[in-house]
């Protein structure tokens, strides 16, 4: 098994509040595709809209996402899958692909996930 990060791209500013109830539900259901097509969900994050992003290049701090583009990163998740074909089979079912954006599949080189914070 290998690990793949799947990056979701959506039309800027990629605000989750803009999703219709149907679109939101599709994103929630996508987790089932991962299992169904031979993968395992390791971790997943949805991000705040890109209007809340701040970028740093060299020592210059600017408002907005790092790369100026029509689409911006909306979130990402990491899956475990047997090979790239399996990962692509899962990723192509991500609702972002039919919601005007798309996904990028990148093999994970190494990683670390911290322990969840203590409630209180």
């Amino acid at each position: 098994m290998a690990q793949y990060a799947i990056l979701l791209f959506a039309k800027a500013p990629a605000d989750a509040a803009d999703l219709t109830p149907r679109e939101r539900e599709a994103h929630q259901r996508h987790g089932e595709d991962v299992e169904k097509f031979g993968g395992r969900m390791l971790t997943a994050f949805a991000l705040q809209p890109s209007t809340t992003a701040t970028s740093i290049r060299g020592d210059t701090i600017t408002d907005g996402p790092f790369v100026e583009a029509k689409e911006v990163v909306a979130g990402f998740y990491v899956i475990e899958a047997p090979d790239l074909d399996a990962a692509l089979e899962i990723a192509r079912r991500n609702p972002a692909t039919w919601q005007g954006g798309g996904v990028e599949v990148r093999p994970v080189d190494s990683g670390f996930v911290g322990a969840p914070p203590v409630e209180g």
Binding site: P82, D85, A86
Partner: protein, 426 residues
Amino acid sequence: MTHQSDVEAAVVDAHRRGWALVVAATVRAARDLDLAEECVQEAYAAALATWARDGIPRNPAAWLTTTARRRAVDAVRRQRAFRSKLPLLVEPERMVEDGTDMDEPVEPAAREPGNGVPDERLRLIFLCCHPALAREAQTALTLRLVCGVSTADIARAFLVSEPTMAARMTRAKKKISAARIPFRMPGVTELPDRLDAVLGVIHLLFTTGHAAPSGPSVLRTDLMDQALHLARVLADLIPDEREVWGLLALLLVTDARRATRVDPDGRLLRLAEQDRSRWDTAAITEAHGLIVNALRDRRPGRYALQAAIASLHAEAPAYDQTDWPQILTLYDELLSVWPSPVVALNRAVAVAQVGGPARALAEVEEVEADGRLSGYQYLPAVKADLLRRLGRTAEASAAYRQALGLTRNRAEREFLTGRLADLGRP
């Protein structure tokens, strides 16, 4: 002792016919494309000396496979201590034997034809043409790993330096191992798309050879031969795919005119000027049979339709006896399955024959307005020809100049210069 020239001929023959098979079988043992390639090269080198001493084996490809695989297994054993993971994902060997896969999570792999024993060459072709690789990388890997063309020759064919081509291939191989692109048959539902990529690579190889983008000659016959060879291998391995027949037929019928596309001075000849008696009738007949099957029943694909059009040209006894109305009908159908501006431009040539140059010019101008063909030299060339026929000489001359500005191939440049010069004559 076997005569040295016989040995050399046997090695050359085994290279031409067995390379892909030997590489594919070695990939399985090496689990790494670079190592497999190295071991296969060593096996071919070893063949020269060993066959001279012991005689040429009855089955040269089997000898080469055994030798290359043995080297690969040794290398893997030596390297094992240093390796943390397998760089290339190869399905366990047992799956090759019984054709079933208990662990396959998604769907069954497309069944290989014949007795169900998968042909390793097919896996190799699908690996090289994986959609996760850039088109240039797909063609380069296919030429190197499936056809055994040297990196230097591939670089020359695609007009880049050898280090550039080597770097491109290394990058692709690294991606195959880092992203774990598997060495397996695509699944049944993936097959149409994946096959499309393979056919696209073969077609690109052929057209690159057929109309070399630059250089002294318009033809690069080595590339055309490799493409034809690949199409035949594919038709052997996947015998029931109509688009494979369509592509093979298209290549055959186009290649049948190879000898007459340029005159003895290397000057490009138009279809109307070519000596039809020198066309390869055996190839045209073979293509005809394939096309009849490829057009049968369901909606035909783009290669079958392109082949049918090329075949109508090839079977016409003379240019002015070409069945243009039928060609136009086929272009209409082609445009519906493959809405490309290049098809629309070619269709305009048929429109000119059926409905006259004025109607064709209107269609060419429509394609021009679309903008996608702005750097395509054949658009102003076709337009120039239509303007010339309409007697609009000044505009024709401007269009020929525009085409010349976009053309780097010497034979095509000379052709256009000649047409431009003819404009001034009565």
